[in-house]
């Protein structure tokens, strides 16, 4: 017969763990002597609690702190490398990079659009300063509204990173800033090369989409 004594049922795990004493201990023992349902439940809890876990051995336990420390260091190096790139990016060539990020944002945003929507581009043109003529031609195909949307997206995405980097730069611990300076030349060049290559790929994809649209039209 099912037992509905909620208090006893709550005490059973404590009884199992030998954490009861005094009146509660006596209460549970008396109850178990007369309640088959609770005896069943207690046997079940014993079985569950006794499920064995094999011991992997002392060598395993001894090695774990070093293994964790190694992985943590690896993770920190990766994070510092990325932060270093971004810090160098925003700290040194703001105007050029801001323009490049805007172009990339606009281009990426456009290639993700549904092709049908591209046919609805308004005729408005917009002028963007400090861009090369080819890029400017591409950007002019977008409406002012769409360009503003893409630029806003790029600014929003970069805002938290800039904030985090400002904090790092202001940190009295100079080690991070020194590391960033060392990353400056080599990593910055690598990043710009990657950015230029990506920009070229996206421009090619935009041109192809425009040509396909003309052919369909």
């Amino acid at each position: 017969m099912k037992c509905n004594d909620a208090k006893i049922k709550e005490l059973l795990p404590l009884y199992l763990e030998r954490e009861l004493d005094g009146a509660e201990l006596k209460q549970v023992e008396l109850h178990l002597a007369s309640c088959e349902d609770c005896r069943t439940e207690f046997s079940l809890l014993q079985l569950v609690s006794e499920e064995p876990v094999p011991d992997p051995g002392e060598a395993f336990w001894a090695a774990m702190p070093d293994r964790v420390a190694r992985d943590v260091r690896r993770h920190q190096k990766r994070t510092l490398g990325l932060s270093g790139l971004l810090a160098a990016l925003f700290a040194h060539r703001g105007a050029w990079v801001t323009a490049a990020v805007c172009i990339l944002a606009v281009a990426l945003w456009s290639v993700q659009r549904d092709p049908v929507n591209m046919a609805a581009f308004p005729e408005e043109e917009t002028a963007v300063q400090d861009m090369d003529p080819d890029t400017e031609a591409i950007v002019k195909e977008f409406s002012a509204r769409e360009l503003r949307t893409a630029v806003q997206w790029a600014q929003n995405e970069s805002e938290p990173v800039r904030g985090a980097l400002d904090e790092q730069m202001a940190d009295p611990n100079q080690q991070i800033s020194d590391d960033l300076l060392k990353l400056d030349e080599r990593e910055l060049d690598r990043f710009y090369n990657a950015l230029e290559k990506k920009e070229q790929e996206i421009q090619n994809r935009i041109r192809k989409k425009m040509e396909d649209r003309k052919n369909i039209g």
Binding site: V48, E51, P54, M64, H75, Q76
Partner: protein
């Protein structure tokens, strides 16, 4: 908890000894929990390492709303959940294949093994939250307020999950007789005891 906060602060300043102490303090209970969730050493060991790495690289995200131990358990459980879902905990062993001698020790261990296999199967059939709650309460000895913190639910919900898990396990394992009675029946079938009649 104050001791943990002190160790965390010292770890954050780069003190390796404090870092080691935190790992050593929690590696065994975390490993036991993870092993019970994934049922094999390789996955449990891998998840244990990932749990610590995630915790130490994300210390900025530890807001001290709960204890560091609770936070570690949350990370471990979240990492283990996906692995657990892909694994079956049912082990198929035929007791008929084993030569049963009239030796109470062997029969006793076989009875226990059979019960354990049935229990493992029943545990896999429990809903995840109920199974986890039961494991944390009975195998890990966590109190309901700790379980509520780890599972991010109320204490009432933790208790409900626990009671419902026990209720379901009893139903799946067969609650018409006690486990002791089951064992007596099996022993009589093995020729070790006079035949017993089932209780009406």
């Amino acid at each position: 908890m104050d001791e943990d906060l002190d160790l965390i602060e010292r770890t954050a300043t780069g003190e390796r000894e404090a870092f080691n102490q935190l790992v050593i303090k929690y590696q065994k209970p975390l490993y036991a929990l993870l092993y019970r969730m994934v049922s094999n050493h390789e996955d449990a060991a891998d998840l244990l390492q990932k749990t610590f790495v995630k915790a130490f690289t994300g210390l900025d995200g530890f807001e001290q709303r709960s204890s560091f131990k609770t936070w570690l358990y949350q990370i471990a459980i979240n990492l283990a959940k996906n692995v657990y879902r892909d694994r079956s905990r049912v082990q198929q062993v035929s007791i008929d294949d084993v030569v049963v001698k009239k030796n109470p020790g062997i029969v006793e261990s076989l009875i226990k093994k059979e019960s354990r296999l049935r229990l493992n199967k029943a545990m896999t059939e429990l809903p995840e939250k109920q199974r986890l709650t039961l494991m944390l309460r009975v195998q890990d000895g966590k109190k309901f307020d700790e379980i509520a913190d780890i599972m991010k639910c109320s204490v009432g919900t933790a208790k409900s999950n626990y009671h419902y898990a026990v209720y379901k396990l009893k139903a799946m394992m067969g609650d018409t007789e006690t486990l002791d009675e089951k064992q007596k029946l099996t022993r009589s079938e093995a020729g070790l005891l006079p035949a017993c009649r089932k209780k009406p």
